[in-house]
Amino acid sequence: MDPFWETLERNSKHMNLQGIIIQILSGISTGMVIFLIAVGLSLVFGTLRILNLAHGTLYMMGAYLCYWVSSVLTSFGGAFWWSLLLAPIGVAIFGGLIEVILLRRIYDREHLDQYLLTFALVLVIGDLCKLAWGVEYHLVTTPWPFQGPVFVMGMPFPSYNVFLIACGPVIFIGLWALIHYTRLGKVIRAMTYNREMANALGTNVPRAYTVVFMLGCWLAGLGGTLVVPTASAMPGMDMIVLIECFIIIVIGGLGSLSGAFLGSLIFGLVNAFGILVAPRLAVAFAFILMIVILIIRPWGLMGEPE
């Protein structure tokens, strides 16, 4: 028999209900972390009309900052929780500087110029991280009280991943409320709809851009911080995440908040089930889904056609 079908058959033989439920939970937790990152990218694109290629690198920077803050504060209790507070803010401030010093000058340029600048930032920030923290893998221990597994129908599942699953909806609701019920949200919606008109009506567009870009960076940093206890901070983690974010915002719709949420959830589940059923195609499944969406609904599941 063909090795692929052989694997498929073997894999499906060993499935059971508990296993499938754990796999679903794994997929959701993958999706919820990637949601935080993808929604930042999507928000920045929707408002600033810039596809920030350095978004993944800012996520990596969040991961390194988390490691750094945790190791500096290691003698205090709850070092990770401090870095969860501080690391994303650090990334946001760094992002604010990038926006004011660099990005602000190229909003009216062609897309190619914007890609070149943000790609240059990928290389520069990546090398700065290497200079500061070296090329080794850096580890942060899983924080109290999420160290051990919880049991779902007798199967162990890391309690920290339960916490990650909870983070996604909290941030989603927070952003939704921000966009619909605050002044900043109104400004964001106005700018997304029509930048010139918003400017003409007295909105301080440059300041709003800086704030939105910092918010996007804060989300990237938050994703980076949250991911470190389950994996490690290492060079190269940025590009993998950036590609996954692209898949998600294409599936969900560029610039759409609920699209990013739905896209992330779908991405996580497709990935987890790919691994369960046909592991050699797990990576391909998400791409196939993206291609299908691009053909039948190019503006994404929750996006609007332009």
Binding site: T7, R10, N11, H14, M15, N16, Q18, G19, I22, Q23, L25, S26, G27, S29, T30, V33, G134, V135, E136, Y137, L139, T141, T142, Q147, G148, P149, M155, P156, F157, P158, S159, Y160, N161, V227, P229, T230, A231, S232, M234, P235, G236, M237, I240, V241, N271, A272, I275, L276, P279, R280, V283
Partner: protein, 406 residues
């Protein structure tokens, strides 16, 4: 004015005279070609170079080789075969080195090996593990003073069969030639010991995978007797991290060649580590008691600030060449190659032989469960099994069969 010129002249003359040791013999030069940058350099190339420097220093302090001092010329292969061959050319043609040693990437080792065959200069591999380099692609000018992939997988299979002996095996490994070759070699060796053994599932994540959660949940619900895992380097660290959160190591039996690897385990610490997994080590100095080893590892630790591990093969190689040149009584490549063939080395891991038939050293590979003790600051293997060297490697007749078949 004139006085200053004279003083400068005299000073120059004096510095010239002191910098040229008039009576010293011309040094014996050799090339050290290894990955010296990036993460791989940090883990493999740089410790290897430190070990080589210790050997050179010891030999020179003891009077050199045949009265001539030894000099190492380090070069970075940048993990790139083309660049490595360029460096090898420069080492051989311009620096006139007597031999080249090092390399971690098997692709780099193969390219350098092909060039050295043409240039007729010996190339001694100290880290790269692909068995093919000394088997079907072996020749007069290539040697390996290290283990190879076969000795890895055979040793792990023996350890797993002895400690567990399960029949349902789950496979996870990196999705490239090394991972798939490891699986094939492991199953071949293991089914010889446990004939009814079967693979019940397999996973092939990409190298540098970040999110291990769905992989681990899948393995845990598969119901295997044990898991054979050929992940290595950073993947070992991030896999362990994610698996620990599942309580994986309390529930799943896990084995693989790189799971006793000092370089990875020393990064993890005593809280989160692959508890009870069967892993391997090239040089478990905490389990070895001989005068060479007892002198070497504290010295290495003091000189480099790192722990002794696989890098000791670089140190051993320098001494092997010294022994060969002294046996040949001449710094003559063809003569000391003849001396190297079949030579017995007295090393940190005991007496081992460089086989004449394939130029592979019968370096041992220890395999045992990983645990934490008070002796070492990081988790390490204990109670190891050690395969007889002759069983860890293909026999000379098997290798001849492979070469003639080709």
């Amino acid at each position: 004015m004139r006085r200053t010129i004279i003083i400068t002249l005299i000073a120059t003359l004096v510095s010239f005279l002191t910098s040229l040791p008039i009576y010293a013999a011309e040094p014996i030069k050799f090339g050290f070609l290894h990955s010296l940058s990036g993460g791989t350099g940090q883990v493999y190339g740089i410790p290897d170079l430190e070990a080589v420097k210790i050997a050179v220093d010891e030999i020179n302090k003891a009077g050199g080789i045949l009265g001539r001092p030894l000099e190492v010329i380090p070069r970075d292969d940048k993990l790139n075969p083309e660049n490595a061959v360029r460096e090898a050319k420069d080492l051989i043609l311009n620096q006139k080195v007597q031999w080249i040693q090092g390399t971690v990437s098997s692709a780099v080792a193969l390219a350098v090996s092909a060039y050295c065959k043409e240039a007729k200069v010996p190339f001694i591999i100290t880290t790269a593990q692909s068995a093919a380099i000394t088997e079907e692609k072996g020749h007069r000018y290539v040697f390996r003073i290290s283990t190879n992939t076969e000795s890895y997988t055979r040793s792990v299979a023996t350890g797993a069969a002895k400690d567990w002996g399960g029949k349902k095996i789950f496979i996870i490994g990196p999705d490239y030639e090394y991972g798939h070759k490891s699986k094939a070699d492991f199953m071949e060796a293991y089914t010889k010991l446990v004939p009814e053994a079967k693979v019940i599932g397999e996973l092939w994540p990409k190298v540098g995978n970040q999110d291990w959660t769905p992989y681990i949940s899948k393995i845990m619900s598969a119901g295997a007797d044990f898991v054979y895992c050929s992940l290595w380097g950073g993947d070992v660290i991030s896999f362990t991290k994610a698996a620990w959160a599942f309580g994986y190591f309390d529930r799943v039996k896990h084995c693989g060649q790189d799971w006793g690897n000092m370089e990875a385990l020393s990064k993890m610490g005593k809280d989160i580590y692959p508890k009870g997994s069967i892993g391997g080590s090239h040089y478990p100095y905490w389990l070895i008691n001989n005068p060479i080893s007892n002198a070497y590892w504290p010295k290495f630790n003091k000189a480099s600030g790192m722990y002794a591990g696989l890098s000791v093969t670089g140190y051993t190689t320098v001494y092997a060449l010294k022994q060969a040149i002294e046996k040949a009584k001449a710094v003559d490549i063809e003569k000391f190659i003849n001396a190297l063939e079949g030579m017995e080395l007295n090393t940190v891991v005991g007496k081992i032989q460089i086989r004449a038939c394939d130029h592979q050293t019968l370096w041992p590979f220890w395999v045992g469960p990983v645990t934490v003790t008070a002796d070492l600051p990081w988790p390490h293997i204990t109670n190891p099994v050690l395969l007889e060297p002759a069983k860890g490697y293909k026999s000379c007749s098997e290798i001849e069969a492979i070469r003639t078949k080709k």
